[in-house]
Amino acid sequence: MNNLAFDIAHLLAGGLVLISLMLLYQDRLTSLLNAFALQAFVLSLSVAWQAYVQNAPHLYLTAGIALSVKAVIIPLALRRIIRRLGIHREIETAINVGPTMLAGLGLIALSMVVVLRVTSEADMLAREDLAFALSVVLLGLLMMVTRRNAVSQVVGFMSLENGLILAATGAKGMPFVVEISVAFSVLIAFIVIGIFLFRIRERFDSVDLEAMDEFRGEAH
């Protein structure tokens, strides 16, 4: 049982990392949102499995929130936004896919080395979990750095936050309040950024952040 628990948790966390990598090379916004919804779905599975393994029923609630908000509501809302903005067909990348993927692989290796070295005394499940979570966080950050479009940056940020939730649920005894607040903060960030997008759009006729740089007279 114990071994099986470990393997399944490992599988789900690894799936999260894999989907993070998938996020990196999506160059259409619609497919990016689909991939993100998939990641949120896997996250909710992973959290639910942790709830079962750790015998912590409150984690089911976290899983539910992840499933409903992140896998359904936010992707749907973002999809509406990009349709209303008329940018759902656009293709954008700041850096080519190849180097980005290589950088992503490097980051995963780095987080493995760091976590496995630093936490040599913790139990196996938590260590693996932390390593994967750190990978997801770094990949989310990488995505925010490489993308130009505000929508993909939002997605990158939320994917980063998925990594945080993975880490939080992997560690036993994380207070429930924290998870709720994290989830809600993301929701609020999403709302704010959504409003922001419309504002940017109204003013510059584009959601491309470079347009703002040009407006400041600092285009390169």
């Binding site: 780095l110 080395v113 070295r117 950050l141 952040l209």
Partner: protein, 674 residues
């Protein structure tokens, strides 16, 4: 043990001072507020001084410790009173009491009492806390407390541009000094983080880092005390504060810095090698000479006093350096002599510098002028202040029978022991330092002849000086008490030497021979055959010969009044500009020393024949330390700021990239850490 341990009394005094500060915030705007505030400060400082003195005399070897549950939770706040702290507590609270008494009278001229009254007691509390602190955290906290309170006092008249500049330079230098001390204590505490002084004392000097700790301690305490080249803030900040606060900063706060140096070098660091004395001796001598030369060139009387503080700090550091050199060679008796001289001078300087700043404050409040070129002839208008200022001038010029002579004489006795040092470096260096000290002493005398002569003698150079009146009795009482103390400690130095003996014992492990047993109150630092000095005898001789001369002149000389213009003592012209001015008095010395010390240059503009304009003599001087050291630093900071400026205007994605890059870099460091 008595029923009231001195440490408890001290801590209650600190608390009472803080409470006074808080109360002063409430009542500070009222004109009468100075009475309760300064009276409370006077009473508390008096009690603290008395108990510290009691501790020094009754329990010379004892030390009390207490840990209060304040500050960092796992450290607590350690307080301790031992012989070293007790001596400095006496000095500081004595100065504080005198300044409070003076403030009672002087405070009536204060235009913004609400900016002085709350900070004055807090400043006193800060200084007391530094002396009582017995762990690095409490020490640094109190040190900053003291710095910030004094900074607030410097900024009392903040609408004046010069004062704002002084405050800025002061707070930058004070922060720098605290940083150096923080690093020094960090090194002393070691990797285990033993911040309590007791732990540091047990550990001793960190191996191989003695020099670094010493350099940091010298930087940290030197920037507060005013060692060259860290002195630049001092002549700006000390005069900017109200006069009784100037007296406290110059006479007392610099002593707290010296206490910190002694505490670190002689107590916490443990025994150190003789070679570390060399930088202290060189810096001390340079400070003494440069300080007094700068004092000679100043025209503002409070700045003269501030620069003279720098000189005296140099003297004290030279004596401390001598003590380090002797102690490093195991010459305990000589080390005790040098340390006694240093501590004696600490006491003396706090007395006469207070007196002189009080005098300058009296002149300032009577005339509204600090520039000596606008003063003159005040002795006729303010005879008591003039006389007391003269006493202070004589004392600081190290003339017998006053106290300045006694301590500087001890210093030279220690210097004369230098041939017994085994190292040639010291054998050659110490006499050279001695020569510089002698030069500094002579220049100090010239400086105070100038300060007293230009201010109080001659004819008034301005309306304000002509209309000056004697100041209030409380201020005079404060000055008179300090002046009497200057005289007493000068006449019976043996008592002071024996009183500081426990402190010397604490710092150097031994003490000077008992002096109070010697007949006729002489002092004999080493052996009767070598040297001895009797202040009482000199005093009696001076009084007797002066009285006899006065008697003879009054009785024997002709009392027929003669009126004769003759050549009128050099100025038959009634115009006051024909008198010696402050600058003209300093001209010979400026021509001798100004060339290399200040790159002084004189320029004479002669009008062409037929042109009726007056000829002009212009003097150009440079502050080499400021121009050579501080301006390049300022320029470097400006260049760096200019270069980093564009970081403020990056795109969101670049900021994110910076954060991301930093995170990855740190993770790489963690991953590759051995």
């Amino acid at each position: 043990m008595s029923a009231l341990p001195p440490l408890d009394v001290m801590l209650w005094c600190v608390l009472a001072l803080l409470a006074t500060g808080v109360a002063a915030i409430v009542i500070g705007r009222n004109a009468w507020a100075r009475w309760p505030v300064y009276c409370a400060c006077l009473a508390i400082s008096g009690i603290a001084c008395a108990f510290a003195l009691l501790h020094l005399i009754v329990h010379p070897a004892a030390a009390w410790e207490a840990v209060l549950p304040l500050g960092l939770p796992w450290i607590g706040a350690h307080f301790r009173i031992d012989a070293l702290a007790a001596f400095f507590l006496v000095v500081i609270n004595l100065g504080a009491a005198a300044a409070s008494l003076y403030g009672l009278g002087y405070g009536r001229h204060e235009s913004a009492p609400e900016r002085v009254l709350p900070f004055f007691p807090v400043f006193l509390a800060g200084m007391n806390m530094v002396l009582l602190a017995a762990d690095a955290f409490t020490f640094l906290l109190s040190w900053e407390f003291m710095s910030l309170a004094s900074w607030a006092l410097v900024m009392t008249h903040h609408r004046d541009d010069d004062n704002r500049k002084a405050g800025f330079v002061y707070i930058v230098m004070a922060s720098f000094g605290t940083l150096a001390l923080l690093l020094a204590f960090g090194l002393l505490a070691g990797a285990e983080g033993g911040y309590a002084f007791a732990t540091i004392r047990e550990q001793g000097a960190p191996p191989g880092l003695t020099g670094l700790v010493l350099a940091l301690a010298l930087l940290g305490t030197g920037s507060k005390a005013g060692l060259v080249p860290l002195h630049v803030w001092l002549p700006l900040a000390h005069p900017a504060a109200p006069s009784h606060v100037s007296a406290l900063m110059s006479g007392v706060m610099t002593k707290v810095a010296i206490y910190a140096f002694i505490r670190i070098v002689f107590d916490l660091l443990g025994p150190i090698g003789w070679e570390w004395a060399i930088p202290v001796l060189i810096i001390g001598a340079a400070t003494a000479v440069l300080g007094v030369l700068s004092a000679l060139m100043q025209n503002d009387i409070k700045r003269v006093l501030a620069y003279s503080t720098i000189e005296n700090i140099g003297l004290i550091f030279v004596a401390l350096g001598l003590a380090m050199a002797f102690q490093g060679n195991g010459m305990q008796a000589a080390a005790a002599l040098a340390m006694t001289a240093a501590l004696f001078h600490v006491l003396n300087h706090s007395l006469f510098k207070n007196l002189l700043f009080f005098g300058a404050g009296a002149v300032l409040s009577a005339t509204g002028e600090r520039a000596m070129e606008k003063l003159g002839g005040l002795l006729n208008r303010m005879p008591v202040t003039g006389l007391l200022f003269l006493v202070g001038s004589v004392a600081i010029s190290a003339l017998p029978p006053l106290n300045g002579f006694a301590s500087e004489w001890l210093m030279f006795q220690a210097i004369l022991l230098s041939p017994e040092l085994p190292q040639w470096a010291l054998k050659l260096l110490v006499p050279a330092v001695g020569a510089l000290l002698a030069l500094a002493a002579a220049l100090a005398a010239a400086c105070f002849v100038r300060a007293f002569g230009i201010t109080f003698l001659g004819r008034p150079r301005s309306e304000a000086a002509a209309g000056a009146h004697e100041i209030d009795r409380l201020s005079i009482a404060a000055m008179a008490i300090v002046a009497v103390l200057c005289l007493l400690t000068g006449i019976v130095p043996a008592v002071v030497i024996d009183a500081v003996a426990p402190t010397v014992q604490f710092a150097t492990g031994t003490r000077m021979p008992v002096q109070t047993d010697i007949a006729w109150l002489s002092i004999v630092p080493i052996a009767e055959s070598r040297s001895s000095y009797n202040g009482l005898l000199v005093f009696v001789f001076i009084v007797a010969s002066a009285s006899a001369a006065a008697f003879v002149i009054h009785r024997v000389a002709s009392d027929k009044l003669r009126r004769a213009p003759a050549w009128d003592c050099g100025f038959p012209d009634a115009s006051t500009v024909t008198q010696y001015s402050a600058d003209s008095f300093a001209q010979p010395l400026r021509r001798v020393f100004g060339g290399f010390a200040f790159r002084a240059r004189e320029e004479v503009h002669m009008p062409l024949p037929g042109n009726g304009n007056p000829a002009r003599l212009t003097v150009h001087m440079h502050d080499l330390v400021w121009e050579g050291l501080y301006l390049p630093i300022v320029r470097l900071i400006n260049v760096l700021a200019e270069k980093l400026n564009h970081l403020q205007f990056l795109t969101i994605r670049r900021y994110l990239s910076l954060v991301f890059g930093a995170l990855v870099f740190l993770l790489l460091v963690v991953a590759s850490w051995p």
